[in-house]
């Protein structure tokens, strides 16, 4: 029953949220709901027997689709990430003001419900349902509360992902008719044996959907615009949690079904991913806007994950697993800092900022930790993940690993450049009267920093949690 609660709790509280007119009540309600969801997630994953961690009920018997939810290690990890992110996001943006506050938080909670659904669905049709449903509230969030060019940017994002989803639907239908028992269950999909020639087309139908969501080069063009134009709270969800849907889907819904095609096209995808990493890193260096910089940096990090996915290496896959969680934590931290600066100073441009460290030392310390995590220095969580991933990439092809390694250097260039331009140098007119961050943001950042360092020193719990999923994904090899 736990997965059902994880979906229902944000869903129902979200629907109630639409009717809350008073701004502070809506914020409190959202925070309460998110904390409750976190409690349910932690309790459900760590303290309840595994029998409680799945759910199965009849849904569409005529179609062979059941309402089946279950959690393997990867699902648990991503459920935890989702459950941790939302309270932190609500906390860090607690003082932000939105018109029509109730609807904003309600849509955020609906997004959470959709995301939870994606991560726990064990039936292809149900998975598709949640995959789409997570998108609709985000569409409204970005279009209603976003920046100046929000409508066009969000629409591009929506159309891109919608095309991808439809391709996936065609793929799902095709596999469905190949299953022996005409069922959408993951197990039935898994036991379909398709000849390699057939696998190729269907592989791409699925992969395009996931590649757009991640996004990897050349499907990424929606991403910087969407991240920049969305309200920052939504951007945190998008980049912290939502892009993990793509990687999650590749591991759960692609690699086990089409191993032959995955091997065949591994090189193409890895090269595309690595090209994307370098390309995004180079663009990130030239950015003058904090949000766009983080957006491009995110493409580079995701590129490394998607490249590693196809290296067929166990170590690499373990790295991807922990990095999914770590990237979520780190990028949300960076967005919180960016939002704190924008809310206070009204600008996101480096050229307008400088010398903030003197005025806001707490913020500066937090950002530096986040920045170190972003470039994967040892003692931060990302180091373990990137180390394992490069290990996998190295065993696949030493040259590709070397080229991908350049992006680490580039990552250090743009990240440290950002830190320097915002926090050091002389204060100017804009930053002269800046004050340090308020308690709520501080609390959210402290939690994130603790996670970053804790997982950087002792990543074992995360690796234990996802071990079974790695095993399952590598089982066919």
């Amino acid at each position: 029953m736990i997965p059902v609660f994880l979906i229902l709790l944000p869903l129902l509280t979200g629907i109630v949220g639409f009717f809350i007119k008073e701004a502070n009540a809506a914020k409190g309600w959202a925070l309460l709901s998110a904390v409750l969801t976190l409690v349910v997630a932690v309790a459900g994953i760590y303290f309840y027997p595994s029998a409680q961690q799945s759910f199965d009920a009849a849904w569409l018997p005529a179609l062979g689709s059941r309402f089946t939810l279950s959690m393997d290690g990867m699902s648990k990890m991503l459920v935890l990430l989702t459950a941790i992110s939302f309270p932190l996001i609500f906390l860090a943006t607690y003082k932000n003001n939105y018109k029509n506050t109730g609807a904003f938080y309600a849509l955020m909670m609906l997004t959470q419900a959709g995301l939870m659904g994606v991560f726990v669905a064990n039936d292809a049709l149900l998975f598709y349902f949640f995959w789409e449903l997570a998108l609709i509230p985000v569409y409204f969030l970005c279009s209603l509360w976003g920046g100046e060019k929000r409508i066009a940017a969000t629409f591009k994002f929506f159309i891109y992902t919608f095309i991808g989803s439809l391709m996936m639907l065609a793929g799902i239908l095709y596999v469905y008719f190949q299953t022996a028992d005409h069922s959408f269950a993951w197990q039935s999909f898994y036991s379909v044996q398709m000849p390699p020639a057939q696998q190729s087309l269907i592989f791409w139908l699925f992969f395009v959907a996931f590649a757009i969501k991640m996004p990897i080069f050349p499907f990424h063009t929606w991403q910087p615009d969407a991240y920049e134009q969305s309200p920052t709270a939504t951007t945190m969800v998008l980049s912290g949690v939502m892009v993990k849907m793509g990687i999650f889907a590749v591991i759960k819904w692609l690699l086990p079904f089409f191993p032959a095609a995955a091997d065949k096209y591994a090189q193409v995808i890895i090269i595309l991913s690595v090209v994307g990493m370098l390309y995004a890193s180079l663009i990130a260096i030239r950015q003058d806007d904090v949000k766009r910089l983080i957006a491009y940096s995110s493409i580079a990090h995701i590129g490394l994950m998607s490249a590693t996915l196809f290296t067929n290496s166990r170590v690499g896959l373990e790295g991807v697993m922990i990095q999914m969680f770590n990237h979520g934590v780190n990028v949300i931290g960076l967005w919180i800092v960016a939002d704190a600066i924008e809310q206070q100073l009204g600008t996101r441009k480096f050229s307008d900022l400088g010398g903030l460290a003197q005025k806001a030392p707490a913020l500066a310390i937090m950002l530096v930790v986040m920045a170190f995590a972003n470039i994967a220095l040892p003692l931060t969580n990302a180091f373990i993940g990137e180390f394992l991933m490069f290990n996998g990439l190295f065993s696949y092809n030493i040259w590709i690993a070397a080229i991908a390694g350049i992006s680490i250097i580039l990552g250090a260039v743009y990240t440290l450049n950002m830190v320097q331009k915002i926090f050091y140098g002389n204060t100017n007119a804009a930053t002269e009267n800046a004050v340090d961050i308020s308690g709520n943001i501080k609390l959210a950042l402290v939690v994130l920093v603790v996670i970053i360092i804790a997982l950087g020193v002792y990543p074992q719990p995360m690796m234990d949690l996802t071990r079974d999923a790695v095993g399952a994904a590598m089982a066919g090899k």
Partner: protein, 461 residues
């Protein structure tokens, strides 16, 4: 048979009630009650509780499928009358006649869902079409309405000619008006149709494609849908169109073998043309009403998949598609009629002024676009699944999916206008009952979107 007789009778009753009373809302209630009676009579027929038996010598045959479609069509008309009845009152002066004509159309619908010979097909199509010509021109003082009516009538009669020619050729070749599959030659195991039969069937195909506005026979659709009073466009684009498809499928379910492999080639050409023209042209429209006209062409492209696949799944699919598409379109038109400006800009800021209307319209648009959790998703799902199941046409499915993504563009333009743009959307007076009706309809769309079996199970029980 119950439905055919009762709907014709009800049409006459409506005409006479126009003499007895001049009170427009009384007429509306008579029509609503008449529709409920019609549904009841049809249900009695479906479950063999009470049926009028007339020996039609095999010209009509009533099965579960056709009768169930009748129930759905009457139900949709009932919803339509409940939501837009007041606007029918305002369409012109002869309110009783409009309702009478609607009942005559329903008579045509019930013939089309039960015909078993080309002669009855012809009768059904004509009984369905002639009232529509009149309804299109209902707004007598409006030049556009007159133009639309005349255009529809001329094109329609021309198509009638083509259809008659087709029927004559088929009759000449086979000596029968029947729909059964042509005999197989025992020695070779193939059928050997004569040239006349093939030519006749092709002409019938053209005529039916015209009726369901499939490209390249769609040219009447935008002008007629745009010119007709909106309240009648709503009826034409939904119930009538669905009935056209039921007839189309009924006609070709056994006959398509006559055309051999070229059947699928012709059909896929028509499907792609319909999707292309409907979707691409809809993108460039300024008026929501005209956009909906083109979108109805695009939706017809999806419905043609049922014809293409021709299996059990597609039979279920066309039922579900008819329901999903009709409910959503009736809902959107009900809102559209209330708007004083039919352009996209006319919807600007509707969410602020009329949140209920905007919310319901959003659900309907999401359904038309085929987003999960709405009825439209499973409608499209069944269509595509039927084709994938047949195998060998995955490319067609992928093309269709691309166009489904295009359709999102123009449907979401309305959502953008309502929610994201500032404006002062002018609406006519909106009553609480109307809002409640819309919310119920939207709830129905979502319900079918979660449990499509709630519609489909009745096919078998």
């Amino acid at each position: 048979m119950n439905a055919i007789i009762l709907s014709a009778l009800l049409g006459v009753v409506m005409m006479f009630s126009g003499i007895v009373t001049n009170n427009k809302s009384v007429l509306k209630y008579i029509a609503a009650v008449g529709l409920l009676l019609l549904i009841a009579a049809n249900l009695l027929d479906t479950y063999a509780l009470f049926k009028i038996n007339i020996n039609t010598h095999g010209l009509l045959s009533f099965e579960k499928f056709g009768l169930y479609f009748n129930t759905l069509a009457f139900g949709a008309t009932f919803i339509y009358v409940c939501l837009s009845g007041r606007d029918v009152e305002n369409a012109g002066i002869n309110v009783a006649e409009y309702f009478a004509l609607i009942f005559f159309v329903l008579c045509g619908v019930s013939i089309l869902s039960g015909f078993n010979g080309l002669l009855m097909l012809f009768l059904g199509i004509e009984i369905l079409s002639i009232p529509l010509y009149i309804l299109t021109g209902a707004d007598k003082r409006n030049l556009k309405s007159n133009e639309a009516s005349l255009k529809y009538f001329l094109m329609g009669s021309f198509t009638t000619g083509i259809m008659l020619m087709g029927i004559a050729l088929v009759y000449g070749a086979t000596g029968s008006f029947g729909l059964e599959a042509p005999p197989v030659i025992p020695t070779t195991g193939v059928i050997n149709p004569s040239f006349l039969q093939v030519a006749g069937l092709l002409l019938l195909f053209v005529a039916m494609a015209f009726k369901v506005s499939a490209a390249p026979f769609h040219f009447w659709t935008p002008d007629v849908y745009d010119g007709a009073p909106s309240v009648f466009t709503s009826f034409m684009a939904t119930i009538v169109k669905a009935a056209g498809f039921i007839a189309f499928i009924r006609l070709f379910q056994h006959q398509s073998v006559v055309l051999g492999p070229s059947w699928k080639i012709i059909l896929s050409f028509v499907i792609i043309a319909t999707l292309l023209i409907g979707n691409i042209t809809a993108v460039f429209q300024q008026s929501v009403k005209r956009m909906l006209a083109y979108s109805s062409i695009a939706q017809a492209g999806f419905m043609l998949f049922a014809l293409f696949a021709g299996n059990d799944l597609s039979r279920e699919g066309i039922i579900l598609y008819s329901v999903a598409y009709s409910l959503a379109t009736i809902g959107i038109f009900a809102v559209l009629i209330k708007m004083s400006d039919y352009t996209f800009d006319g919807f600007n800021g509707l969410a602020k002024k009329q949140p209920v209307l905007a919310f319901a319209t959003t659900i309907f648009l999401l359904s038309l676009a085929g987003i999960p959790l709405t009825a439209g998703f499973f409608a499209k799902y069944y269509m595509l699944a039927a084709v994938v199941k047949e195998g060998g046409a995955l490319w067609l499915v992928i093309i269709a999916l691309f166009f489904a993504a295009v359709s999102v563009y123009y449907y979401f333009k309305v959502i953008q206008a309502m929610y994201f743009k500032e404006g002062d959307a002018e609406t006519a007076e909106v009553t609480g009952a109307f809002k409640t009706g819309l919310i119920l309809l939207a709830a129905l769309v979502i319900l079918v979107g979660i449990w499509p079996s709630s519609v489909l199970n009745w096919l078998y029980f």
